[in-house]
């Protein structure tokens, strides 16, 4: 088991990080990477065959990593990638699950914004042939980031033949933080890529559109997002799957609730080879006036690809609320119980510990009635 993480962090900030799944005691984690602003305060992994390294150190250690850096995310993509690519002292982590390795307990990566105006990271995650890698990424900011801050994160995921990566990201920012993740993944033959995103807390703006390119035969990608937009939050979220390998498949599932904020829920599946399958699902609830703008796109360009989507935006059903009230729950309890059910997305193939972590962060929001 890895060493406990013991940086100088206030109790309040520790609690905020814990809400994103960060376990300082390392009880159910096999490794950690902790970056506060631009300072890397912890990086290790006790699991045999899995390395967790700061980006710079990793690039020095493995010359071949050059082939994986800025390969599937272009440094010229936009202002965010240009900024990250221009850094002389790059930050971020590299996680390599070597051939055949398997972590039962996830690796935790914590990106914490305390003072800096812009926190930048460049992450590379590789699961080599047959490896299984589970990561929980908790991103949060200190309570006292008064003037606002920004997080620029570039992540490149490589899922090799018969390998699997699950990446669960839980956000707990604050009203004055802007977040711009830029990530892409390539999934080879029989590879599985699971990407889960949970954000129950306020954020000023988040914009991301992670893309998975399924190049290998029978490769699988599943994206799931569970988000609540509070007043003042602007969430522009999407996910994209490009089905290139024969028999590859993708599922994109979103549960979005607005309590006054704006959610753009985008999704795109492109079926480019015969025998591919894709399904896109977005369900939205408007609890208080806000905007949920669902933009599902499916693009089939060959005979033998099967793509579908369903999108629905609505309100809580009075019939359901009163049914629970008839069982003795008051209106607030009934409402929270139905919302909790609405947000309940079970991700097939995700380790129980991570599903529990996702459930716990949603349960935490339920305690305050969402």
């Amino acid at each position: 088991m890895s060493q406990p993480v013991t940086p100088e962090i206030s109790q309040a900030d520790r609690e905020r990080m814990a809400q994103t799944g960060i376990d300082f005691e390392m009880k159910n984690r096999c490794g950690s990477y902790l970056q506060m602003d631009q300072e890397i305060v912890h990086s290790d992994c006790a699991e045999a065959g899995i390395e967790v390294l700061p980006y710079k150190k990793a690039m020095e250690k493995y010359d071949w990593l050059k082939e994986y850096s800025w390969k599937i995310v272009s440094p010229e993509k936009d202002e965010v990638t240009k900024y990250v690519a221009a850094q002389k002292d790059p930050k971020g982590y590299v996680i390599i699950a070597h051939k055949g390795s398997n972590n039962i307990y996830p690796i935790q990566a914590c990106l914490y914004l305390g003072r800096e105006l812009i926190q930048h990271v460049h992450n590379i995650i590789i699961a080599e042939e047959g490896a299984e890698l589970h990561i929980i990424s908790g991103c949060s900011s200190g309570e006292h980031v008064g003037s606002g801050g920004m997080h620029y994160g570039v992540s490149e995921f490589y899922v090799k033949k018969n390998a699997k990566i699950s990446f669960t990201m839980i956000h707990n920012w604050s009203e004055n933080i802007e977040v711009y993740p830029r990530s892409a993944s390539v999934v080879e033959e029989n590879g599985v890529f699971l990407s889960n995103y949970v954000c129950m807390q306020p954020v000023k703006k988040i914009q991301m559109y992670p893309t998975a390119t399924l190049t290998g035969a029978n490769s699988v990608a599943r994206f799931s997002s569970v988000v609540i937009a509070t007043p003042g939050s602007y969430m522009d979220l999407g996910s994209r799957a490009i089905l290139e390998g024969p028999g590859s498949s993708a599922e994109l599932v979103t549960r979005a609730i607005t309590k006054g904020g704006t959610i753009m829920s985008r999704g795109h599946i492109a079926g480019k080879t015969t025998g591919t399958k894709g399904h896109l699902e977005c369900k939205g609830l408007i609890l208080k006036d806000g905007i949920i703008y669902a933009i599902p796109e499916i693009e089939g360009s060959v005979v033998g690809t099967e793509l579908s989507h369903e999108a629905a935006v609505g309100k809580l059903a009075q019939e359901e609320i009163e049914y629970l009230m008839a069982r003795g729950l008051d209106e607030d309890e009934a409402t929270a119980t139905i919302i909790r059910g609405f947000l309940d997305v079970k991700i097939s193939g995700l380790p129980e510990a991570l599903q529990k972590q996702i459930d716990a962060s949603i349960d935490e929001a339920e305690k305050t009635g969402f």
């Binding site: 009230m325 008839a326 008051d330 119980t337 909790r340 059910g341």
Partner: protein, 243 residues
């Protein structure tokens, strides 16, 4: 247990129930018969406190307390319960989780009660999602067992249920209504809507009422009324009693 006086109920702009009077004593189970659309379910939903059933006149008194203006959960807390004919499907809400929410503290009985109704495999399923007719009714009965109300309304407990399940459901409802106790010691009361009367083979009832056009037109022995209806249909049955 329950006293309904001069009750008038509107749904939207239309008055659906007119001048309903009904008394159900402690330990008694009554049957409500009547053709489709006569207002039976409306009466039950009104008694449960559903918000789109507006009481314009009259009172509902439950265990001596005026509950006319109370919301559904306040009535439920006082001991009113209902078996719904077509309960909603709630995505993501597991039956087991709902049962825990209903029981609040006493959750240890849930697995055993679920087994008794062959519902133990449904505790981790979304409530009513893909349930068969019999499974919906067993889920309803299970929720009532946990809720343990003093007055139970049953809206067509046999609809969509096969013979085998009717026996199981009927027996369970009998237990809920303390039919296994001596008549003098029964405290629980019930009001059953039935079309077919099959449920009466498993459930002793004390008194029957026939509803027509939003009014209760006659009262009597439930089996005799049912026999009349089966023989002559609702039309003649009501005509003979209201010439």
């Amino acid at each position: 247990m329950l006293d309904i006086k001069d009750l008038h109920v509107k749904v939207g702009d239309k008055e659906v129930l007119h001048d309903i009077n009904l008394h159900i004593g402690e330990g008694e189970t009554h049957v409500l018969l009547g053709p489709n659309g006569s207002g039976k379910t409306t009466l039950l939903m009104t008694l449960m406190g559903y918000s789109n059933y507006t009481i314009t006149e009259g009172t509902i008194t439950f265990k001596g307390e005026d509950v006319t203006r109370m919301k559904a959960h306040e009535r439920a807390k006082r001991g009113v319960g209902m078996l719904f004919q077509r309960p909603p499907t709630i995505s993501g809400l597991k039956l087991g989780k709902l049962l825990s929410a209903i029981s609040r503290t006493k959750t240890e009985d849930i697995p055993e009660l679920a087994r008794s109704l062959h519902m133990d495999k449904f505790l981790e399923r979304d409530i009513n999602k893909g349930f068969s007719g019999g499974e919906i009714k067993r889920s309803e009965v299970l929720q009532l067992m946990i809720q343990n109300p003093d007055f139970i309304m049953l809206d067509e407990p046999e609809s969509g249920v096969d013979i085998e399940n009717i026996s199981l459901i009927g027996t369970a409802i009998g237990t809920l209504l303390e039919k296994d106790k001596h008549i003098a010691r029964r405290k629980k009361s019930g009001l059953v809507i039935t079309h077919t009367g099959y449920i009466l083979d498993y459930l002793e009832t004390d008194r029957g009422h026939v509803m027509c056009d939003g009014q209760i037109k006659c009262h009597g022995n439930p089996r005799e009324i049912l026999k009349d209806i089966k023989k002559h249909g609702y039309k003649e049955c009501l005509e003979c009693r209201n010439p």
